[in-house]
Amino acid sequence: MITLHSSLLRRTPPRPAEAPSRERPAVLTAERKLAYADALLRCSDPEACAHVALGLLQNLGVRAAVCTLLQPEDGELRAVAGLGVAPALWEDLHISVQETSHPLVVALGGTEPVLVNREQVMRLPGPPPPFPAFHAVPLIRAEAEGGPGLGLVLIQHTAASELGEELLWVCGMLSAKLVGLDYRRLLAAEKRYKRERAHFHSIIDAVTDPILLTDMEGRIIIANSRAESLFSAPEGTSEGRRRAVALNNMLFSAALFTTMEDADARRRELLLVDPSEGRDLLFELLSTPFVDPHGGGGVVSVLRNITDLRSATAELEENYRRLRVAEAEMRAERDRLDLIISSVADPILVTDPGGSIVLMNPPAQRLFEVEGEQRGEEATRRVRANDAVFSSFMSNLYTGHMMRWRGELGLVDPHTGTTIPVEAIAGKVLTKGGEVTAIVTILHDRTEALEKARLYDQVKRHSEELKQRVNEATAELAAQNELLRRQAMALEQASEMKSQFLATMSHELRTPLNAIIGYTQLLLQGISGEVPPPQHKKLTRIASNAQHLLSLINDLLDITRIESGKMPIHVETFELRALIKDVMAEVEPIIARTQLTVTQELPEELPELRSDRQKVKQVVLNLLSNALKFTPAGSVQVQVRHDVERDTVSISVKDTGIGIPEAEQQRIFEDFRQADNSYTRQYGGTGLGLSICRRLAAMLGGHISLESQVGVGSTFTLHLPRQLRRK
């Protein structure tokens, strides 16, 4: 920091003065004056001048005096030389010019000598002056220059003494000499200053960063050449450059203003324009305010070009960011891998080429590590056993050249002691150079698989057993079927044989019966000659029994045929009225032999019947024969009804006969039944009639019902569908 005292530069050089001699003449002669002046002129500093001047005053009769000079460095009036007073009394004398009310300071400001009397001296502050009363003679500059004096010469006041013309001349000479000394000093200072200034400028110009010194109003006081290129436009520059400079000044002022306002913003970025090239330049602005001790102040600003630095920084930051991203990705990848390995249920181990385990997932740790409270002698032993098994397995891989190795290991659960059959698959991890960096082994618990295989075998065995049993059962069934088939065949054959037998029997029974009946008839009809009455009666009994035997044979044959399903049905359409008529005609001979009244009741409208006429007739005939047989007296009525709604036909035979007890009413339809077996002999018949009727009615899709009361009579009714539907 350089301060310039411009006021000093304005001083005019002092006039040459005469050097006084060291002798002490009472009256100064012209020669002496010249001698003193010459002595003064030879002095090179103010203190020496003061001593010469005091010596001159002593020659002029002054007994005691002190010379004080105003020190330009600190503005103090200080004693520099004494005459007739012990140095201890004046050396400490110094008064600040700031004490404007001090008589000496007042005297310094004037042009005339001032008498300071005893009373004034007593009141003086600070160290007491060496005299009780004295004259203070100001050492003034040239009249025209004004300003404070250069110092004061304090001359002891005595009753006899008076400030003579010569004393004042000496003081004037001193003044002149001091002024001259001061001028020389200033010239030297200025020279030094100029050198320093040039030096300073060369230094700040050597700095590549723009440096500026501005006053409190922002005006530029000093700028180095780099700063000048930005902020000043010499005469004759282009308009564009001038405008760029103006813009830079504006931006700088604004930045500087905020810098002054805000102490935190003293370091900030500033974007300026390069006036010569027109490109943007980014600067970092460092501003430091300063206070000038001689008044005023300003701001020193250093602009550091960070345009390139900024881009370099950006690049660096980008690289750093990429590095961070890559690192994060790597970390994520590793975390993911860790997570995958951890979440695999099968134990996974990674070993280094040296054979030591470098990584395990939790299931593997369970097998190869014992922790905390689970640590126990037993568990530790098991882990060691597992380690041994695993190491043995791994040794295969180290020695061999194969990339993969598979093995079955028997491990033990360290915590439970359960044996775990394990399938181990190990694979080498190679570097690009083909070196083994790690071996990854995956263990797969085969307990479940083995259990499943065992269960599968069991199931398979059971299944085979079952199959065997089924086969056996099937074979047995087939054998039984075959047996049944044979039995059925045998049965069929038997049935066929039975039918054949019956047919044959029927034929063989009929043949002799035919002879009996034939001969009896020949005799009874007198074909073979007249037969006497007693014999004739016996022949009649033979004929009757032969007929009964024939009926039995016929009925048996009918039942056999029905039962064996060999009774064919011949469906035809016929008039029921005509059928009834036929039946009545057949029983006419029987009716003729009784006293019974036989009536018919047929509706006007009687539809045609579609059924087996012969069988319907057989049933009706049988029912009517029975009614005639079991009715000693009274009547028999044949009644035909047609139920239109159901499309059925009913043929009733009602008699006033002996009746059938209720208990017998079901049984009479059974084979060989008559209500009373004695009836058979009394009434004739085989006892098979109703049984055959019941079967025939069923064959025709109908049935026979009975209403009867003992002693009142019976009503047998044949119910038939009007149309027989063949199955």
Binding site: H507, R510, P512, G518, Q525, I527
Partner: protein, 145 residues
């Protein structure tokens, strides 16, 4: 036997009935009945004999038992009906077989009627007269009660 059968028939004037049966009592009863009723019975004991006699004499009617030795009645009937000499002669199957299929089988063989033994003489005669009326019954049919 009868060598001049061609002239015999017109002379006697009685219808000739060939009775084919192997059961002696049956033959005996029928021949007596036929003779009594004014027919001339000719007897054959089996099917083969029946064919011989039928071809030789050409009867007015044949009463054919079905169960016969050597050649049965059905086969004999079939051959008789197949031969133009005897095809016109009515055949009544007279048999102790009572089943329906026997009757059907007989009709299929060419029999014109089917009568089950034992049978009422009146009933048999009614059937015979349907085909061949008797010329002069020796005695009227006695009435029964």
């Amino acid at each position: 036997m009868n060598r001049s059968k061609a002239v015999k028939k017109p002379l006697r004037g009685k219808p000739v009935v060939l009775v084919v049966d192997d059961y002696e009592d049956a033959v005996d009863i029928i021949t007596e009945l036929l003779t009594f009723e004014g027919y001339e019975p000719v007897v054959a004991r089996n099917g083969a004999e029946a064919l011989d006699k039928a071809y030789a004499q050409v009867p007015d009617l044949i009463l054919m038992d079905l169960s016969l030795p050597e050649l049965d009645g059905w086969e004999a009937s079939r051959r008789l009906k197949a031969d133009k000499r005897t095809a016109h002669v009515p055949i009544i199957a007279l048999t102790a077989h009572a089943l329906t299929q026997h009757a059907e089988k007989a009709r299929a063989a060419g029999c014109d009627a089917f009568v089950t033994k034992p049978c009422d003489p009146d009933k048999l005669m009614t059937e015979i007269r349907r085909f061949v009326p008797a010329v002069a019954p020796s005695t009227p049919v006695s009435s029964r009660e």
